[in-house]
Symmetry: C2
Subunit: 335 residues, 2 copies
């Protein structure tokens, strides 16, 4: 089965979970409401911008893979999927402020349209709302998973900031960063699905591993795309990472394999942050020459294999196939 | 009893609750730890900067007023007091980014020292940590109170942003803003003390009213001080609110009583945000002339009276007296 039409896989997963996703989207809109008009206004912008809703899909799929959600009474996964999306959206809003991104998901980012202040404060609101949603759910186990993930995300973002412009960052530290900023919430989103289903043993562990490894693969590919894709494919400004002096594996790999003259280029551009318009093409050609994209994608593929392997304990099913194809999509969208 | 030496009252309350406060400070330091060094570094700056720790004092005092905390097993109020301070500190960090304040509590603000990015992200970390602390406590009632307060704070901050530079803001809306940004957490801090003591009836209601009214009085006085105190007394840059075009009662009152020429001044300075160095002295003299500070402080005094009245259901005690004196301090520090 070809996954060349990558987004089709997520659409197929969304279609399979259509009822749940519709309920989840409704929950997102409902809980975005506030007597303060700017909040639903900015919320509507975020909802309209869409996004893949990958994280709530993971919660919904994990719950159903564990046998939950098949009766009208079993609706906890829906509220928690919304909760996961709120946490994600809050971190996106704050990321855009921190990164000063002008584009997000191909549309003007919220901070460009509404200003940094609104992005910080509405992010805080969504974060608080996510905890209200958890509290309404009432499971201490779920709260523990999601509050820990929230702390890990913030730690990952702070660590990423500390590595910025620092070419001596070890690959291990880069991996810790992407675990925090991306994989931790993927893992938590999956675990929560198992917990609502009452499958807190092997299934929760398997889904945690699935989410973690999928998240790592996903972020590695994202970091590769920043030096490979054109703006339309990716829905973000290409060269963002370079301009910000962000330390990602493509840069670390290219720097590691560089000649003295090339090292000087990276040091000027990334460490001293002295950039000219010609630097992006130069960076792209050095990354091409050193095979840095392939190195990054090979790492992603290794995580992807582990994600697929983690699903082994679950019997074959249409949903399991869709989740495996989601992993394939995550790594293949860069090709 | 004179409360001329205002800070002495808080010191007396701190001394009365010395054991609890010590445990609370230790919990704050412990839970500020992270494998990412920048987090405890910035945390240490915040702890060193001190602050009055008024909100955790309210949680500790409320718990004890309700008869909790007198045995070694009864320690929940300590963790929750730390939790309340984390929420407060997270909002301070984000406020400083939003307001671009250079001073906070008389020391250089965290964002001036560590940058906006660090302030946003460490604020997120502290917010997440606060939810971990609540989860560890395990009471859904407490989580509901504190997550709702967190959402209300964010709403208050967004509403405040929407009123910025808008002299047509009704006083009611200003009161909603200060309820959100300040009184909601004061109220929640107090309620949580009653809940851990198992006093979810009249005592919780009384302490909620106490906290709300104290918070309103406190913020009104803060807003008066921004046009009255010198920098040393207040520990912030005087004229901050004017420079930011923030809509507070002193401005609304002065504008409401202004001559046509004076109205033009306020419209230029606040609405058009066209400011010169001479504007602060002019604003201060207009505020003086119109009695805007007295109007603001009279409102504060009315809330203070309600705060004191709310404590009536509690029998006389040294702690109750200290809480009443705290109210007096909150309103009298401007005189």
């Amino acid at each position: 089965m070809s996954d060349a039409g990558g987004e089709d896989v997520l659409k197929a997963l969304s279609d399979y979970l259509a009822g749940d996703m519709q309920a989840c989207n409704q929950a997102i809109i409902d809980r975005m409401q506030s007597s303060v008009p700017l909040i639903p206004q900015l919320g509507a912008h975020l909802v309209a911008a869409g996004g893949k809703r990958l994280r709530p899909l993971l919660t919904l799929a994990s719950a159903r893979l564990c046998g939950y959600g098949h009766t009208p009474e079993q609706q906890r996964h829906v509220g928690l999927a919304a909760c996961v999306e709120f946490i994600h959206t809050a971190t996106l809003l704050h990321d855009d402020v921190v990164d000063e991104s002008a584009l997000r998901r191909g549309a003007a980012s919220a901070n460009a349209l509404f200003g940094n202040k609104a992005s910080v404060l509405v992010g805080d609101f969504l974060f608080a709302r996510s905890f209200q949603l958890m509290t309404a759910d009432g499971s201490l186990e779920v709260m523990s998973i999601l509050s820990e993930a929230s702390a890990t995300i913030a730690e990952g973002e702070v660590l990423q900031m500390s590595t910025q412009n620092d070419l001596s960052t070890p690959v291990e530290r880069y991996l810790t960063v992407i675990h925090g900023k991306t994989a931790a919430l993927f893992a938590a989103a999956c675990r929560v699905g198992a917990v609502v289903a009452g499958k807190e043993g092997a299934e929760e562990k398997a889904l945690e591993s699935f989410g973690t490894n999928l998240g790592m693969a996903f972020q590695l590919v994202d970091d590769a795309l920043d030096y490979a894709a054109d703006q339309q494919t990716l829905g973000k400004t290409v060269g963002d990472d370079l301009r910000e002096g962000k330390i990602t594996l493509p840069v670390l790999a290219a720097y590691g394999a560089a000649s003295p003259q090339e090292r000087a280029f990276w040091e000027r551009v990334i460490e001293k942050n002295e950039q000219t318009p010609d630097d992006l093409p130069t960076a792209l050609s050095l990354i091409e020459k050193t095979g840095a994209i392939e190195i990054t994608l090979a790492r992603a593929a290794a995580y992807a294999d582990r994600a697929v392997a983690a699903l082994e304990i679950f019997p074959e099913s249409e949903l399991k196939t869709l989740l495996i194809r989601t992993v394939t999509y995550a790594v293949n969208r860069a090709r």
